[in-house]
């Protein structure tokens, strides 16, 4: 087998554009590639890739591999793993990076087991060991209570990367990169799943992932009515409402509003945590926020360890006056 060389990023396309995590992966991959003095490539898989290959070059890729086929219209484990298996074997990258997304979570482990390689999921830091040149992968473990650094001597070294943990490069349209289609021969009989339907939650207003201000409610909000008050505040701040897991599990709010280890990762300027205790699994999703504000009736709540400002007390008595004053300040 050929010597394993280069970094490969698995790129994802959303609404015709490479997704933000893909730009983050390219930013991080670029640094690792420069350190190893090897190439950074990006592989794009889908039915119509449009401008996406060019975008990945602008964001730092030296080479782009494209796999286009009508059978690849939607992500399906069997078809996508088949493409990636072939790419990994033919191109023998040293490192393959994925985003910790719905697709990355499913595809990366399946591919790792197929290749006999080892994989670290949800990495927050990646670096090259100066001596061994091996990839060091640091990820959150024990629900965010601890971190662990792993490495592996088996190639390709594989990792999925947490959203918003890495910074993209500023896109440079004048960058040059080589775009190479790769041949895919898919046998429809070997695709053992079928996507019958995709149901998307309608989002009114700002999307959680994009919001610069988030008002997040926890179990202490007590029910769907309380969340209406959080919405009022979010509107004033031109932000979005999020939640810890219990409000989602209790169906007070949609599942898509969950923030945390197994929910969304957010990094707003302002994160107002109301009636949530700050469990490590929740903080995993919001500790990248610039300013965390806590309102909780328990002065010992863990959220105060992460917060910059806080008020201790019943949110029902605090929030209306707070919202009023914020409205006044923002109007003036």
């Amino acid at each position: 087998m050929a010597e394993n060389k280069g970094i490969m990023v698995y790129g994802e396309i959303v609404d015709g554009k490479i997704s933000s995590i893909t730009t983050e992966l390219l930013g991080c991959g670029r640094k690792l590639a420069d350190e190893l003095k090897e190439d950074l490539s990006c592989i794009l898989v889908g039915d119509k890739l449009g401008d996406a290959p060019k975008q990945t070059v602008a964001y730092g890729a030296d080479k782009v591999y494209t796999a286009e086929d009508p059978l690849l219209k939607e992500y399906q484990t069997d078809s996508y793993v088949a493409v990636m298996e072939k790419a990994a074997k033919d191109l023998s990258p040293k490192i393959i990076l994925f985003g910790q997304t719905s697709v990355g979570r499913d595809l990366a482990p399946r591919l790792a087991f197929r290749l006999g390689a080892s994989l670290s999921m949800d990495c927050m830091e990646l670096s090259i060991d100066p001596g061994t040149k091996l990839l060091h992968q640091t990820r959150s473990v024990y629900g965010g209570n601890a971190r662990a650094t792993f490495t592996s001597e088996i190639f390709p070294q594989m990792a999925t990367v947490r959203q918003k943990a890495m910074s993209p490069l500023a896109p440079d349209e004048s960058r040059k990169g080589e775009i190479t289609p790769i041949k895919v021969e898919l046998d429809p009989a070997k695709i053992r799943t079928k996507v019958l339907e995709t149901v998307k939650e309608e989002v009114v207003g700002v999307k959680l992932e994009d919001a610069q201000a988030i008002v997040a409610g926890g179990r202490g909000i007590g029910g769907p009515d309380g969340f209406k008050q959080l919405e009022d505040l979010a509107k004033v701040l031109k932000g979005a409402v999020g939640a810890s897991r219990p409000p989602c599990d209790n169906k007070w709010v949609p599942d898509t509003m969950q923030i945390g280890l197994t929910g969304k990762i957010v990094t707003p300027e302002l994160y107002i945590a109301v009636g949530l205790s700050g469990a490590s699994q929740h903080l995993a999703g919001c500790s990248g926020a610039k300013n965390i504000i806590a309102i909780n009736k328990d002065p010992e709540a863990n959220i105060y360890k992460e917060a910059r400002f806080g008020v201790v007390g019943d949110w029902k008595q605090i929030l209306p006056a707070f919202t009023e004053k914020v409205k006044e300040l923002l109007a003036g």
Binding site: S102, V141, R147, F150
Partner: protein, 268 residues
């Protein structure tokens, strides 16, 4: 049609224990179990048991639970039995200690081959200790069967399963041929409580214990020796923790003061 189902359940330290009780021994790269907090079945695995039970409620079938580890507490690993699962097989041996996703998935898949008959295998989406999120998919790959991950609803009919798979902005309905492996997420809904009758029935059941040799595994394939990922360091991130608490005579006043403070600090 009654189905043969297997659920993989891992015993873990209670992930909901207070964060302050979480301690690491840096010399061994191991977590020090907090005193007085008993381990639990990893929460997503309980929901995996629930997913299997819902199918059994509908159409009958048999649920075999598989747990791998060392010093497994019978009260903990028997919980799925008290919820309504039929059989418990423990892969229990000192040699299983220190395994990674690779060696654990391989041992579980090997045990599943020995069990032989299965239509559906359930796992949690990730174990609440190492949060690896790989073992389910790994088992499917080793067995050569399809997998659907992060499920919130599973129905099985006519040799197929219909699975609602959670994605970041909603869900997808996916049809998969059986046998298949499904990993389950909390969106499935709460796992049922054990009934008194269930607890009594579980108390009477003896788990089957398999040693590595019983499933034909060599020492080099399991535990620390079978790892493909090398753990370099386990550590706790340092937190600064300097929160400024805004105080006032009334809660409303505190709210107003908080807003003013945010303006002063140029946060709003």
């Amino acid at each position: 049609m009654p189905l043969n189902m297997i659920v993989c359940c891992k015993q873990v330290l209670d992930p909901e224990a207070p964060p302050a009780s979480f301690k690491i021994d840096p010399s061994t790269n191991k977590v020090i179990p907090p005193p007085g907090v008993p381990p639990v079945v990893s929460p997503f695995d309980e929901q995996a048991v629930e997913a299997a039970l819902r199918i059994k409620d509908q159409q009958g079938g048999k649920i075999t639970v598989l747990s791998l580890g060392n010093n497994l507490l019978r009260d903990v690993v028997k919980k799925p039995l008290s919820m309504g699962a039929d059989e418990l097989i423990l892969l229990e041996d000192e040699a299983f200690e220190g395994g990674d996703s690779w060696s654990i998935a391989n041992a579980l898949a090997t045990a599943i081959k020995k069990i032989g008959e299965y239509d559906l295998i359930f796992c949690g989406r990730q174990a609440a200790d190492w949060d690896a999120g790989q073992v389910g998919t790994g088992i499917a790959e080793i067995l050569g069967i399809p997998s659907v991950t992060v499920a919130k609803k599973v129905e099985a009919t006519d040799g197929k399963a219909k699975v609602e798979r959670v994605i970041s902005d909603g869900y997808q309905v996916i049809e998969v041929t059986l046998p298949a492996l499904i990993t389950v997420s909390n969106e499935l809904g709460e796992a049922r409580y054990a009934t008194l009758k269930g607890i009594m029935a579980a108390a009477k059941k003896q788990p089957t214990v398999w040693k590595p040799a019983d499933i034909g595994l060599e020492p080099s394939q399991i535990g620390t020796a079978g790892r493909r990922a090398k753990l370099l360091k386990l550590f706790q991130p340092v937190k600064e923790g300097k929160c400024e608490i805004i105080e006032a005579d009334t809660p409303a006043e505190a709210g107003t003061k908080l807003a003013a403070k945010l303006r002063e600090a140029k946060v709003i």
